[in-house]
């Protein structure tokens, strides 16, 4: 069986979301590297795979998938359904809740902080501190909810890692590379959960190709 192909640039947090799931599932895959600065995602051959012109894209035989969470679910359903609590009504609902929380509550506040604090300087944009401050305030409120959740279980959807935790890796990796990483110190259970996540060999392997500055500083512009 041919390995799956994952198209994109490995520094992308969306790409990382999928890669940690591939690694945890032990699925055979190869990365097909693409260049963001070279506009590979806007070329006709990529638009044929993903009409929205984004990455990651997964090819598994005849199946072509996009949207990182859809890809993640497919991989886990196929190779490691226990990470979705498949077959357990309440358990699978808990996984879904915390995948949605990441998508709609956490990621929207982390992204502007990462863009302003890490990326802006490399792409000729002014850092907007007001935007950073506004999102840090929101982040603290969101982390209160996570802290309460993780007071009841080791991981977000129970006492074992699931898709919900894995979906958080990519964006949190970059937030923790900003000067505001210390914000999590006020949320000890959240901090402990994060440290356990990045201690996993699968996560370390994916993180190894994700420099804290997305590669801009070393001239490896994505």
């Amino acid at each position: 069986m041919a390995p799956m192909k994952l198209y994109g640039w490995v520094v992308s947090p969306w790409m990382a979301r999928v890669r940690v799931c591939l690694e945890e599932a032990g699925a055979a895959y190869e990365v097909v590297p693409m260049s963001r600065s070279g506009g590979d995602h806007r070329r006709p051959e990529h638009l044929a795979r993903n009409p929205f012109g984004q990455i990651p894209v997964l090819e598994d035989g005849d199946l072509t998938l996009y949207q990182s969470r859809a890809i993640a679910r497919y991989i886990l359903r196929k190779h490691k359904p226990e990470l979705l609590h498949e077959g357990d009504l309440a358990g699978s609902a808990a996984v879904d809740v915390w995948v949605e929380v990441e998508a709609h509550q956490l990621e929207p506040v982390i992204l502007p902080i990462v863009v302003n604090c890490i990326i802006a300087q490399y792409v000729g944009q002014e850092r907007d501190q007001a935007v950073v401050d506004e999102n840090l305030a929101k982040l603290k409120k969101v982390l209160e909810v996570y802290e309460a959740r993780l007071s009841g279980s080791r991981y977000l959807a129970g006492d074992d890692v699931t898709a919900a935790d894995l979906c958080h890796f990519g964006f949190m990796r970059y937030f923790m590379a900003t000067e505001y990483a210390g914000v999590v110190d006020a949320y000890p259970r959240f901090k402990g959960w994060w440290e356990a996540l990045v201690a996993r060999p699968t996560v370390k392997k994916v993180m190894a190709s994700m420099p804290p500055d997305f590669g801009f500083g070393s001239g490896n512009i994505p």
Partner: protein
């Protein structure tokens, strides 16, 4: 078995996202209204159900859930039948397509269409704010690009995930319904397959029933 409870207003888009799945699977439910004007969504009782102080929240016996798409999937799984298999989780490829188009609604379609609904309907009627035409125009440009992709897809399949209706299609109902009450409804006329798909969704009994509780103008 006690009916499940959905906390929130039956007019609210994300509450309707859950209700349409409940209707499609034929589950018994009750809507417990949460009074936004009175800030009931921020009350300790409601925050105990939804720690982000948002609607909907959901209760099935001892189980409490929040986040509309997570709630809706729970409902779809619990009441799955030969007549109502909205997630197709028994078939890897079909489930993948349902997931792709569910994510597309959340991350491509909704960010383009919801600002138009807020600027044209919600802000003037509920907040006494004028429509920000710049936001509307930018959103319309984004929406047209998204609808081009939908047109291409729906030229090949009857519904978004394939030739079967699914959770992916139903997710589009609430915000699109309200969009059709804005001055920009005719945008869909340029995308004939999308228009046919929308009309077929609107003809579903579940959608007709819920539409009756979704006013498109407010006093």
């Amino acid at each position: 078995m006690a009916p499940v409870k959905v906390f929130g207003s039956a007019m609210s888009t994300n509450v309707v996202r859950v209700l349409v799945c409940l209707e499609e699977v034929g589950a018994e439910y009750e809507v417990v209204n949460i009074d936004f004007q009175a800030k009931e969504h921020k009350s300790p009782e409601h925050v105990a159900r939804n720690p982000f102080g948002q609607i909907p929240a959901f209760q099935d016996g001892d189980l409490f859930l929040f986040e509309s798409r997570a709630i809706a999937k729970y409902v779809a799984r619990k009441h799955k039948s030969a007549d109502a298999d909205l997630l197709r989780e028994g078939n890897l490829n079909e489930a993948a397509m349902v997931d792709v188009w569910t994510e597309v609604e959340a991350h491509q379609y909704n960010p383009a269409i919801s600002p138009i609904v807020y600027e044209c309907l919600v802000n003037p009627a509920m907040k006494g704010l004028p429509t920000n035409q710049k936001v509307v125009d930018e959103s319309l440009d984004k929406l047209k690009k998204v609808l081009e992709v939908y047109e291409a897809r729906l030229s090949k399949t009857k519904y978004l995930a394939g030739d079967f209706v699914s959770f992916a299609d139903l997710n589009h109902f609430p915000y699109t319904y309200y969009f059709m009450a804005t001055p920009h409804a005719l945008v869909f006329d340029s995308y004939p397959h999308v228009k046919v798909w929308w009309e077929s969704l609107m003809s579903r009994p579940s959608v007709k029933k819920l539409s009756a509780n979704m006013p498109t103008s407010w006093p």
